[in-house]
Symmetry: C2
Subunit: 650 residues, 2 copies
């Protein structure tokens, strides 16, 4: 927040993660069970957020709501995680929402196939590189062609299906790194948690793997709610669940996670233009497109989103608008711009419902992490749910000019059909109704020519799969009708946020340590999302400080500013150090001068500089920093700098 550049030595993930756990940003769920000798269950991939993590999460969600929902008047809804099987059968998740896994029969372990290939090839490449650097390790050296092949495979690792992964595993003799055992062929494992609902246990349900379906199912009601105005967007913030095969990587691959998803419904005939696109067109974004990846490279190309849409790198304005808005959101909550890229999905990698997809990825010590997926789901979901339920999920729009349509129409003589075909009547009516314009055209000619036509049907009572219809029972004519309304199924652009992944990645981005002392870690979270905005610390446990501290905490609370009092017996330096690790941007100290003249000091986390002024002035300064109307540079140039005690050195 001050203009100080984050410095310090190289990033150490173990030091960083130990900070997050020590300060209770998060913790393994059910840890006292997992560490108890008799526990046999699997609780990997489940994490609890402690007080600072929970507050950070809530602040990110609040900012998300402001940045997207309120700014664009989206219709936020709250839908259930429990989902009947029929819904997810229709959406394709029951059949296709799976990862490929291999069993190691010796260890009894299940490994995710793509991760297995990735980690083994990466390890071999790493050994190869150090062998190149140090000729003594020549056993690990690969020939150049193999090394190149590995690199190419890794660049498109998300593009392989199960059988292809199986071939890679066989071809490169890839084994379980734990014990070096051979693994079996990849099999598909559905990632949804299954249960049943109701006392009879006859109704299977799943925990939703995404919040999107609940939004699609409410489409018609939402369209009514916004009085038919298109385009519009719905949004949903809530937990989703994926039974990951072998979750590692801490908060980045978990089985229960908070998502925030937007479904923006748009008329496919308007080129998916967006009325506010001009507001973002000039923003430069870093792109990694699919062709670059397929050529085995990861070079990022930076250009304005305006140009990206113009050149069709990004398909349309609406998708482009959201990419830019996502970028602005990530910057606002603390992501480092140099560690953001937008990567286009490869064809095989795309979810079964998507027709184009760009991920906002954040660079972390685990590599580039998909944090926001921006998919064009086309009309897939609304169409399949509409078909499965017989409910029209369409927009009806008055046409500015009525549309005249002339087309073939077949009519059956109802009075004759029933008596003649009896039980088959419905099948025959359905068969005629399903005839397309081309078929009707030829049948009309045939009917005129032969006075009878043969129409294919479902199997009838007599075993036939067609029926002869004569002129007296069936007529086919050219008919002109006028359509005053246009009916269409909207397309959906979906920005989908993994809040936990964003939280973790941002924490890595804002982590550094003081130059003079690698143990003095700091989380430079923006004021906007910092769990606590102000530390209130008495210089010592002297009883005279207590009433001042209490008053200050009360005044901050009344201003709605989250604050923390630290009245423990440790030095003020230790109190600051603890709050640097908690990402608290501001610190008030109450000292002996406060008892004389009422003044207090205010310290800024990143620069560790302090000012000293009256309580009113300091509270006013805090208020404007929290509201974002003043920066620390402005505050520290208008209030007296305090250099009395170098408290940070204690």
């Amino acid at each position: 927040m001050a203009t100080t550049t984050l410095t310090g030595g190289p990033f150490s993930r173990s030091q960083f993660e130990s900070l997050l756990k020590r300060r209770l940003f998060y913790t393994e769920a059910f840890e006292i069970y997992r560490t108890s000798p008799n526990f046999k269950g699997d609780n990997r991939g489940l994490f609890d957020y402690g007080p600072p993590g929970c507050a950070l999460l809530a602040n990110i969600v609040n900012e998300w709501r402001k940045h997207f929902v309120i700014e664009e008047n989206m219709l936020e809804i709250d839908t259930t995680a429990i989902t009947p099987e029929a819904v997810l059968k229709t959406s394709g998740h029951v059949d296709k929402f799976a990862d490929w896994m291999c069993k190691d029969p010796i260890k009894g372990e299940y490994l995710r196939a793509d991760h297995l290939v990735e980690s083994v090839l990466e390890t071999r490449l790493a050994h190869h590189r150090s062998a190149v650097a140090d000729s003594k390790q020549k056993n690990d050296k690969l020939d150049d062609a193999t090394a190149k092949e590995y690199e190419e495979i890794l660049a498109k690792i998300d593009n392989y299906d199960g059988p292809e992964l199986g071939q890679l595993i066989k071809g490169f003799d890839i084994r379980n790194p734990n014990g070096n055992g051979e693994v079996q062929d990849p099999i598909a494992f559905n990632l949804m948690f299954k249960s049943t609902i109701g006392p009879s246990a006859a109704s299977p349900i799943y925990l939703r793997p995404e919040t999107a379906q609940g939004q699609f199912l409410n489409f018609r009601k939402l369209l009514d709610f916004c009085q038919g105005a298109m385009p519009f967007a719905s949004a949903c913030i809530g937990k989703s669940y994926r039974n990951e095969i072998s979750p590692r990587s801490g908060l980045l691959r978990v089985r229960e996670f908070l998502m925030a998803e937007i479904e923006h419904f748009v008329d496919p005939e308007g080129n998916k233009n967006h009325e506010r696109f001009h507001e973002v067109a000039a923003i430069e974004l870093p792109f990694l497109d699919k062709d670059t990846q397929l050529s085995g490279k990861t070079t990022v190309d930076t250009m304005s989103i305006g140009k990206a849409v113009e050149t069709k790198l990004v398909d349309n304005e609406t998708l482009g608008y959201f990419l830019a808005r996502v970028y602005l959101f990530l910057l606002k909550i603390g992501a480092d711009w140099s560690k953001i890229r937008f990567r286009q999905h490869l064809a095989n990698e795309m979810a079964h419902y998507a027709c184009d997809c760009w991920d906002a990825e954040l660079l972390t010590s685990y590599g580039w992490i998909e944090c926001v997926g921006c998919a064009d789901r086309s009309a897939y979901d609304l169409s399949v749910h509409s078909k499965a339920t017989g409910t029209p999920l369409v927009v009806k729009e008055a046409r500015s000019e009525p549309l005249e349509i002339t087309e073939w129409q077949a009519t059956l003589e109802k009075k004759l059909v029933g008596p003649r075909f009896k039980k088959d009547a419905k099948k025959i009516e359905a068969a005629v109704a399903s005839l397309g314009q081309d078929a009707l055209g030829s049948l009309a000619a045939e009917l005129a020519d032969k006075a009878v036509i043969t129409v294919p049907t479902e199997e009838l009572a007599n075993g036939n799969t067609s029926v002869d219809l004569s002129l007296e029972i069936c007529s086919i004519k050219r008919v002109t009708r006028v359509e005053n309304t246009r009916e269409y199924t909207p397309n959906v652009i979906e920005p989908s946020f993994g809040i936990g992944r964003i939280l973790y990645s941002v924490l890595e981005h804002v982590h550094w340590h003081r130059e003079k002392d690698a143990a003095r870690q700091v989380l430079s979270l923006p004021v906007l999302v910092a769990p606590t905005k102000v530390l209130v610390a008495p210089l010592s446990s002297n009883a005279n400080f207590k009433p001042v501290v209490k008053t200050l905490a009360g005044r901050l609370r009344a201003l709605g500013i989250a604050n923390n009092v630290d009245s423990s017996g440790v030095t003020i330096g230790k109190k600051y150090a603890r709050n640097d690790e908690l990402g608290t941007p501001l610190g008030i100290t109450v000292d002996f001068d406060t008892l004389n003249d009422g003044s207090i000091t205010l310290r800024e986390r990143d620069s560790t500089t302090q000012v000293r002024a009256s309580q009113d002035d300091i509270l006013e300064a805090i208020k404007s920093i929290v509201a974002g109307t003043e920066t620390w540079d402005q505050i520290s140039s208008r209030l007296p700098i305090f250099a009395g005690q170098s408290q940070d050195e204690e």
Copy 2:
């Protein structure tokens, strides 16, 4: 919000619920599936919140966070809903978290036993009462003793277990109202949703039925986080899941619901006093205690919480403090004070972990509804989890004065025990270690007397269940030790909020209709929680209004005030009526005078009175109403009343 009293005719639930669904406060989840002909699943008890419901929910949660978490510096955490079986086995939920249900073998229906008894007896009593009023219906008349017996059963319906309910069903010939079939004996049905985690399907998990367990399991870390300071409270807001047998009653009995729970950890030796109790002691609360209920009555006794604790009606200050704070919270978000009561749980009704429990109940058209449970869970949860995991979940406190303890201590001669007892050695050591002070006292005398003692054990290798120990192998002496720290397991006071039930009940409380027109319904939600604070409405679709409307909406958004623009072609009266149903407290109209002099009108929902002033003055007025610094009465006495058009009559 104005001082207008809510009026209108009698409450009609069907009219009310149709308003909530029409305005999309909530909707049945997966409705398009349920109504499609092929759907066979069970999706009862699952609801989605639409835009106004979702905003109301978020506002209630925000207020909850302010009123409880921030006001008391609680440690809010966010824990997973997925819970390993071992955790819920320990907590008792796997064995005891069940309802009793009866199967109707003819209809194939499952009925919750207590609800079956309740509804049948209530129906009979209703018929009886109308028979008393109208002598023609004499067949439905009960004899006085039976009517009285029914009433007494209903007053303590929550007190019966399964076999007792079975007896009532047999004794009073209670049948399934749907078809009048006899039902089978009640059986226990566990209410938790079960699934498995991980690819091997060997690890059973449940969806949590409450958020409490996640808080208990993090107790040790939370105690560390707050640097060991007792008492402290944790809090958690999140979804919980209960597989209700036969959910009806709309939002009041659902299978997936939002809870907000507080676990306040307190030293059991301090009488569970609370340092802020004096702040609430004078607040009068309406109590319905357990003795009154067991006597078959439902008379409410109103007294101050101070007196209630003094007289031990409410067990302790901490429990009392929370009852009062809960009451204030309910009033703040719009509950009607005359429809709130605190009902004490009966012994059989209490959850298996609780030692005392008071429910805040809200009166609705469904009767009195439990909305907040305030339970004293004693040390139950921490104790059982500690025992199951071998992890101490205790507070260690430095004693102000060291405690000297003199007691009997038995010591075994380790060198001899191993060789002599071999495999039995551990059992014998455990037997000696488990001897209490009284037993040790008598054994010491016996040992002094006979030089040998007999100690009961688990079954040993030779089949014996006791062992003889001689002087050389065992000594028992008086030993004095000094304890500098005190170790104790905290007790837990738990206020537990069902947010969806509160939301529904409050909506009933604030619902009324205009005196002149029963179709003109209003939801008088407090500004604090109203989904949208301001409607911005142009008088007509005249294009000249558009820029003013856009500017006003932008200015309100910049002030962080949720607003809604209605530019549809309907009359201004219809726009107001729609927003009365949405509970929008304020409405701005832009009309032709606005185009001349820039002034706009501001209308208050409950009184329908309006003021007219400049845009700056009106925005200032809105700001202070939303911030709670001015009331409508104050605004309308300082700004000019506008009576130009009686827009509400349109």
